[in-house]
C-alpha cells in the first residue's frame, strides 16, 4: 500500500508538473489576449515531433534546446501574422482561428510523420533506474523530467516577479495602454509571450515524448485536460493553474490504481442497488476506468460551486 502511495505520488506530481508546463503558457496567453489558444496542445505535439526528428539527426540534448526555440518561433509567427489579423473580428474569431490551427497542425503532423507512433527513445545517458523503492525501479528519465519541469517553474516565477521584463509583462496584462504610453511596444510583448508560451509547451513535448507515446493524437488527448486545468485553476491565474495541475495529475494517477466501483463502496455499508439496466454501469464501473473523465467531472463541479475557478478573479 505504502509502495503504491509513494510511486503514485511521484508519478502524479510528475504528470502534474508536465501539465503545468502547458497550462502556464496557456493561462499567460489568456490573461494577455483574453483568448484561449485552442492550438496550445498542438504546439506541445509539434515540440515532441520536432524533438524526435532533431534527436534523430543531432541527438537528444541539442533537440531539447532547438525544438522549443523553433516551435516558439512558429508560435510568434502565428501570433504576428495570424491572430493579430483576426483580432479585429473579435474573440470568437480568434478562438475559431486557433481551433482551425489545431486541426491543420494535426493533419500536417499526420502528413509528415504518419498516424502510427514514432520511436522516440529515452537518451542513453538517462536510461537507467534512478533508485529502487519496494522492489520497483524508478527510471532516471522520470526524475529528469520532474527536475526540468520544477526548474522551469522556478525560473518562470523568478522572471515574472523579479525582473524588469517580468514587470513589463505583468503591467501589460492589466494596463496595456499605460505600458504603451511609457514607450514599450505592447504588441511585441504579446508576440514574445505567445512565443515563450508555445515554446514552454514544446519543452513539455520534448521531455514527455520519450516517456509517453509520440503520436499524432497526443494533442487531442492532452489538450482538453489542459483547458480543464486553466478553468479549474481560474482563468488567468498562474498559481491557480499550478494547484490545479498538481491536483489533476495526482487525482488521475491515483484513480488509475483504485479498482473499486460505487457498487462496492455502497455494498460495504450495506446498500445494494437495483437490478441491472441501462444505467447500472454508473455504479458498476471501477474507478480505474473512470479516471479519464474525472477531470471533466471536476470541471463541472467547480463551475457549479465556484464559477471563477479556484483562484480566479475574472468572470469572463
Amino acid at each position: 500500500m505504502l509502495e503504491l502511495v509513494i510511486i503514485s505520488t511521484l508519478n502524479g506530481v510528475l504528470y502534474g508538473m508536465l501539465l503545468f508546463l502547458l497550462a502556464s503558457g496557456l493561462t499567460l496567453i489568456f490573461s494577455m489576449m483574453g483568448v484561449i489558444n485552442f492550438a496550445h496542445a498542438s504546439f506541445y505535439m509539434l515540440g515532441a515531433f520536432f524533438g524526435f526528428q532533431i534527436s534523430q539527426w543531432l541527438g537528444f540534448w541539442p533537440a531539447l534546446v532547438i525544438a522549443p526555440v523553433l516551435v516558439g518561433a512558429i508560435g510568434a509567427v502565428v501570433e504576428r501574422w495570424g491572430l493579430r489579423r483576426v483580432h479585429r473580428h473579435g474573440h470568437v474569431a480568434e478562438l475559431l482561428f486557433t481551433f482551425g490551427l489545431a486541426f491543420v497542425i494535426e493533419e500536417l503532423v499526420q502528413m509528415v510523420w504518419g498516424k502510427t507512433p514514432v520511436d522516440f527513445r529515452v537518451p542513453a545517458l538517462l536510461d537507467f533506474p534512478a533508485f529502487t523503492i519496494f522492489s520497483t525501479n524508478y527510471p532516471a528519465y522520470k526524475m529528469f523530467m520532474l527536475l526540468t519541469a520544477v526548474a522551469i517553474f522556478i525560473a518562470l516565477l523568478l522572471v515574472l516577479t523579479r525582473t524588469r521584463v517580468g514587470l513589463i509583462i505583468q503591467a501589460s496584462l492589466t494596463h496595456p495602454n499605460m505600458v504603451a504610453m511609457l514607450g514599450h511596444n505592447v504588441p511585441r510583448v504579446f508576440m514574445m509571450v505567445f512565443g515563450v508560451g508555445t515554446g514552454l509547451a514544446a519543452v513539455a513535448g520534448v521531455i514527455a515524448g520519450p516517456a509517453l507515446v509520440t503520436q499524432s493524437n497526443m494533442a487531442g488527448l492532452l489538450g482538453p485536460i489542459v483547458f480543464v486545468i486553466v478553468v479549474v485553476g481560474g482563468l488567468g491565474s498562474l498559481l491557480g493553474a499550478f494547484i490545479a495541475s498538481l491536483l489533476i495529475g495526482l487525482i488521475q494517477t491515483f484513480a488509475v490504481s483504485v479498482n473499486l466501483s460505487l457498487a462496492d463502496v455502497l455494498g460495504a455499508v450495506g446498500i445494494t442497488l437495483g437490478p441491472d439496466n441501462f444505467l447500472s454501469d454508473i455504479w458498476q464501473v471501477p474507478v480505474a476506468q473512470v479516471a479519464p473523465i474525472i477531470p471533466y467531472l471536476l470541471l463541472v463541479l467547480v463551475l457549479v460551486f465556484r464559477p471563477t475557478g479556484l483562484l480566479g478573479t475574472r468572470d469572463t
Partner: protein, 434 residues
C-alpha cells in the same frame, strides 16, 4: 421571462397575393425542390448524400442558434445530437420489441425530447456565462460525455455502438422505410419542418433578444431581459433541434456509436456552420451542403482531405468571417441595382490565376504527402489525371511555377477587383432610390 412568450406586436400583415408570395414563396420553393431532387439525382449514392445533407442542415442550423444568433461558441454540440441519436435508437428497439404502434416518422421526436432534456441539464451548468468561459465549459462537457460513452457500455454500446432495424417498427400507410427513397422523404420532411420552425423562431421577440444578448449582453440586461435566461432558453431549443438531427441520423444509419457524441462531430458542425456563414439564416444550410459534399467527394479523391478542410476553414476565418453567405450577401446591393455584371469580368480575371495558385499548392501538398508517408509503396502518382513520378525534379518545378507564378499574377489582379467593386458599388448607390 413571461414577456418573451408574448406574440410579436406588429402591424397586421396585409393579405394581398404578392405579400403572401414573398412570405411563404421561399418555403414553397424549398419544399418543391426537396420533393423533386430524388427525381433528378436518382442514383443510390446521390440519395444517400442528400439524406446526409438533410441531417447536417438541421444540425448546422441548430448550431447556428447558438453561434450565429446568440453568440455562444460551443465546442460540444455533438452531445445533444449524439444523445438524441442514442435515445432514438433505444426507443426504436423498444418500440420494435414491444410492438408499440409508433411509426418511424415519429422517432425524431424522441431525439428532440432527449436533446431538449440534456440541453436543460447541461445548459443549467454551462450558460451562466457567455464568451470564452462558455466555450471552455462546452468543451469540457463534450469531453465528459464523449469519454463516458466508452465507459458506460450498456447504454452507449462500447466501441461497436447500438444498432437497430427501422423496418421492424409499426408501418403506417404501408411505408416500411426499407428503401432509401422513403428515408430521404422522411428526412426531407423533418428538415423542412425544422428549418421553418427555426426560421420562425428568429422572427419572434425571443429571437431578437438572442441577437441583443449576442451583440451587447449588458444593454439587453438594462432593457430588462436576463442574458443568462435568454442564453439558457436558446441553448435548450438548440439542443432540441440537434436531437432531431440525431434521431434522423439514427433512422438513416440504423446504428449509433460513440463517434456521434465525440469531439470530431462537434468540430464538423462548427466547421460547416462557420464556412457557410453565421450571420445569415441561409449560411449554415449552404455550409452543411458544401461540407457534406466535400466529405463524401473529397475523401474519394485525396486521403488528406481533412487538411484541405482545415486550411479552407482558416482561410475563411481570416479573410471572410461572414462565410459563404456573407460573401453572397455582399453582392445583394449590386444585384438589386442590376450592376452585378460589372464586377463579373474582374472576378473571372482573378479566378484564373487564383485557381492556378491553388492547383500548385495542392500539387505540392499531394507530392509531399506521397514522398513523406507513402514512399514505400512507390513514388508514381496521378494528379488531375496526369501521371508522373513525384521523386523527379520536373513535377516540383512545375508545382513551384504554378504556385509562385500563379500567386504573383493573382496578387496583381486584386487592385482590379477592388476597383471594379468600388465602381459597381458607387453605381448601385447612385441608382438606389433616395
Amino acid at each position: 421571462m413571461t414577456d418573451l412568450a408574448k406574440p410579436a406586436t406588429r402591424a397586421a400583415p396585409s393579405v394581398d397575393a404578392p405579400a403572401l408570395a414573398r412570405r411563404y414563396g421561399a418555403w414553397i420553393v424549398t419544399a418543391l425542390v426537396l420533393a423533386v431532387l430524388p427525381k433528378i439525382f436518382t442514383s443510390g449514392s446521390a440519395l444517400t448524400m442528400m439524406s446526409l445533407m438533410g441531417i447536417m442542415i438541421v444540425f448546422a442550423l441548430s448550431y447556428n442558434m447558438l453561434l450565429g444568433q446568440t453568440g455562444m461558441l460551443s465546442f460540444g454540440h455533438a452531445v445533444y445530437y449524439g444523445l438524441g441519436g442514442f435515445l432514438a435508437v433505444h426507443a426504436m428497439n423498444t418500440f420494435a420489441r414491444d410492438g408499440l404502434p409508433i411509426p418511424v416518422a415519429l422517432v425524431p421526436l424522441v431525439g428532440a425530447l432527449s436533446g431538449l432534456l440534456f440541453g436543460i441539464i447541461f445548459g443549467a451548468v454551462s450558460t451562466r456565462r457567455g464568451g470564452t468561459a462558455f466555450a471552455m465549459i462546452s468543451l469540457g462537457l463534450g469531453e465528459l460525455v464523449g469519454s463516458s460513452s466508452l465507459i458506460l457500455r450498456s447504454f452507449f454500446g462500447g466501441e461497436e455502438g447500438i444498432s437497430t432495424n427501422r423496418t421492424k417498427l409499426f408501418h403506417v400507410l404501408g411505408l416500411t422505410f426499407g428503401p432509401q427513397l422513403q428515408v430521404y422523404y422522411l428526412i426531407a420532411g423533418w428538415c423542412l419542418l425544422s428549418m421553418i420552425a427555426m426560421y420562425a423562431l428568429t422572427c419572434t421577440p425571443f429571437g431578437r433578444m438572442c441577437n441583443a444578448v449576442r451583440d451587447n449582453p449588458e444593454r439587453a440586461q438594462f432593457v430588462g431581459y436576463n442574458p443568462q435566461t435568454v442564453r439558457f432558453i436558446a441553448f435548450c431549443l438548440s439542443g432540441l433541434f440537434a436531437g432531431i438531427a440525431g434521431g434522423l441520423a439514427a433512422i438513416n444509419f440504423e446504428i449509433v456509436n460513440a463517434g456521434y457524441v465525440g469531439a470530431e462531430q462537434s468540430g464538423t458542425v462548427l466547421l460547416a456552420t462557420f464556412v457557410g456563414g453565421v450571420g445569415n439564416f441561409i449560411g449554415p444550410v449552404l455550409g452543411a451542403i458544401l461540407v457534406t459534399y466535400l466529405q463524401v467527394m473529397l475523401s474519394d479523391v485525396t486521403e488528406i482531405w481533412q487538411l484541405y478542410f482545415g486550411l479552407m476553414f482558416i482561410g475563411m476565418v481570416m479573410f471572410a468571417p461572414g462565410g459563404l453567405a456573407g460573401l453572397l450577401m455582399m453582392h445583394a446591393p449590386l444585384w438589386h441595382a442590376r450592376v452585378l455584371h460589372r464586377v463579373l469580368p474582374a472576378y473571372l480575371l482573378a479566378l484564373v490565376p487564383g485557381l492556378i495558385t491553388l492547383t500548385g499548392a495542392s500539387l505540392v501538398i499531394e507530392m509531399s504527402y506521397l514522398l513523406l508517408v507513402k514512399a514505400s509503396s512507390g513514388t508514381a502518382m496521378t494528379f488531375l489525371r496526369v501521371p508522373f513520378d513525384a521523386a523527379g525534379p520536373l513535377p516540383w518545378v512545375v508545382a513551384a511555377v504554378l504556385l509562385v507564378g500563379g500567386f504573383w499574377v493573382f496578387r496583381r489582379t486584386w487592385p482590379v477587383v477592388a476597383d471594379a467593386w468600388s465602381d459597381a458599388l458607387g453605381q448601385a448607390r447612385t441608382r438606389a432610390p433616395a
